[in-house]
């Protein structure tokens, strides 16, 4: 967008300690009055050397570190890594492991989208949905804690299997939660999504056109919010997602142009419902089996390289692993979805108002742990 501004340009630093940057992110805003002429994101405050560190740890030991990338959806983070190593080693997993992995990944997707919706409402100025989302997320975390003992950083998906089998009665608890949760989505819509003040605040703000989104490599709900129907679970299925019946919701531009903040927000809410559908089917497909069956005694992949991409809640997550036949990877590269979104952020926020920068940033739902790694 070309901005026609005149007068003095003021530099305004937003962050690194700012409640709405969802972590430690510094935005260097060049403002002309109320209009943002340029927003330059400065990242790296949360850099923890994940990729270099991974070269010095054996394969199973990397899994706890992948959890710490996107701490809102740790199950999906480790799932991508584990699938990559399994692909490299040629391990086949049984049906029980596959179904439990899908249930866990989708439950964590719901939890992650609940955070996204809740904190977005909080950024815009509506505090009630935040607490409501966290209440429902708590139930999911309790399910995880009961299964693997941890609430956020699980280390649950292992190479070739799972840490523990689920407890007896887990299926019933999951179905009970879904039964309880699906009407709650309607309540959340009444509370926030259809609230006209919220709609007015977000609908015509931060338009990310499909062309720009594709050019920048934006994936996940942010891309689908722009009306592009792309989901790795559908287009390049892994873990047998092709057997499941679910839709890929896209932004339709119900209020204002397609690709606005509201579209990106509502795609997440609709995706939560699709996840509920997948979980129901996965619970029905659950068969008895041993979850430790195909765990290798020693993880020593053959020489080679592999790229595995999965659909994390924030977009396409890719792991590129180069193995030289040792117990440690020679190189590990992560393609993180939030990092690509961050580069598109500059394009989107150019020419908007200062107050809208918060709305745009919140709608992208970034997690800094994953951007900086």
């Amino acid at each position: 967008m070309e901005v026609d501004y005149s007068g003095d340009v003021m530099t305004l630093n937003m962050g690194p300690q700012h409640p709405s940057t969802h972590g430690v992110l510094r935005l260097e805003l060049k403002t002309d009055g109320e209009i943002v002429a340029d927003a330059i994101p400065h990242i790296g405050y949360l850099h923890r050397c994940f990729e270099k560190l991974a070269e010095n740890i054996d394969y199973p030991g990397i899994i706890p570190f992948t959890d710490r990338m996107d701490y809102c959806a740790a199950m999906n983070m480790e799932l991508g890594y584990v699938l990559a190593v399994e692909k490299l080693m040629g391990i086949q997993i049984n049906n029980r492991v596959r179904c439990i992995r899908i249930i866990m990944a989708e439950l964590n997707r719901i939890a992650s989208h609940l955070i996204a919706a809740g904190t977005y409402g909080n950024d815009i100025g509506s505090f009630t949905p935040f607490l409501w989302c966290f209440r429902d997320r708590e139930t999911i975390l309790d399910l995880f804690e009961e299964t693997c003992g941890a609430r956020l950083l699980y280390n649950y998906n292992w190479i070739g299997g799972l840490m523990y089998d689920v407890k007896p009665g887990f299926e019933k608890k999951v179905i009970d939660f879904i039964d309880y949760f699906e009407p709650q989505v309607g309540n959340l819509n009444k509370l926030l999504s259809d609230n006209y003040i919220f709609v007015k605040r977000t609908a015509a703000v931060g338009i990310l056109s499909p062309e720009v989104a594709i050019n920048y490599g934006v994936t996940g709900p942010n891309l689908r919010g722009s009306g592009v129907k792309f989901d790795v679970r559908k287009d390049e299925p892994y873990l047998g997602y092709e057997e499941f019946d679910f839709d890929v919701p896209v932004g339709k531009g119900d209020y204002g142009p397609v690709g606005s903040c509201w579209d990106r927000y509502i795609v997440r809410i609709r995706e939560v419902k699709e996840s509920c559908k997948i979980i129901r089917q996965a619970v029905a497909k659950l068969t008895p089996g041993d979850v430790h069956e195909s765990i290798p005694k020693r993880v020593k992949p053959p020489v080679g390289e592999v790229y595995m991409r999965t659909e994390a809640p924030r977009g396409e997550l890719g792991y590129y692993i180069v193995s030289e036949g040792g117990v440690k990877p020679h190189r590990l590269k992560v393609k993180s979805p939030c990092f690509t979104v961050m580069s598109a952020f500059r394009e989107v926020s150019r020419g908007s108002m200062i107050a809208d920068v918060i709305a745009i940033l919140g709608s992208f739902d970034i997690v800094l742990g994953e951007i900086d790694r």
């Binding site: 804690e145 523990y164 009444k190 259809d194 609230n195 003040i197 007015k200």
Partner: protein
């Protein structure tokens, strides 16, 4: 002009709708737990503070090897032949004397990889989560007993080359 009033009207109507949802919530039971006075029961698989039952530890060092953050320090030496044979509770002969077994809980990432490698299952994670201290040195937990440390035979220092 018409749009202006329509916006106001829609704003009021949708806010009333959401207020309805919120008001209905007044009559549902509270989900908040008053933490220091009330406490939740931790599940049995709960992963918090590490604990080593040192009597069963055979000093194999599997836990230290698998730890991704190297938070376990373990030093062992061979037990003398004249000493009586001792066994772990599952019958494994203890051939090494563990005279240092320290766990630095500030480094621990609570992944529980060490507990799965343990052959005698003497290392496990407890559900204890309230162990904040004022000094981080206090988070280094030594598990080797005094007896194990005292009976340690002094090692001969290798002679320095001139």
């Amino acid at each position: 002009m018409l749009n202006y009033f329509r916006d106001i009207g829609l704003g009021i109507v949708t806010v009333l709708k959401s207020m309805g949802v919120a008001w209905r919530h007044l009559f549902t039971p509270s989900v908040t737990l008053q933490y220091p006075t009330q406490k939740w029961t931790m599940p049995e698989r709960s992963r918090s503070k590490l604990f080593n039952k040192i009597e069963d530890c055979i000093g194999c060092g599997q836990c230290a090897r698998v730890c991704p953050t190297n938070c376990i320090t373990i030093q062992t030496e061979k037990r003398g032949k004249e000493e009586p044979e001792i066994f772990a509770s599952d019958g494994t002969a203890i051939k090494l004397r563990t005279y240092v077994y320290d766990i630095d809980m500030t480094l621990c990432c609570y992944c529980a990889l060490c507990t799965f490698g343990c052959p005698t299952h003497c290392l496990f994670m407890t559900g204890e989560y309230e162990y904040a201290v004022y000094d981080k040195v206090c988070h280094i937990y030594p598990f080797a007993t005094e007896k194990q440390m005292i009976s340690k035979t002094p090692k001969q220092q290798p002679a320095e080359k001139a």
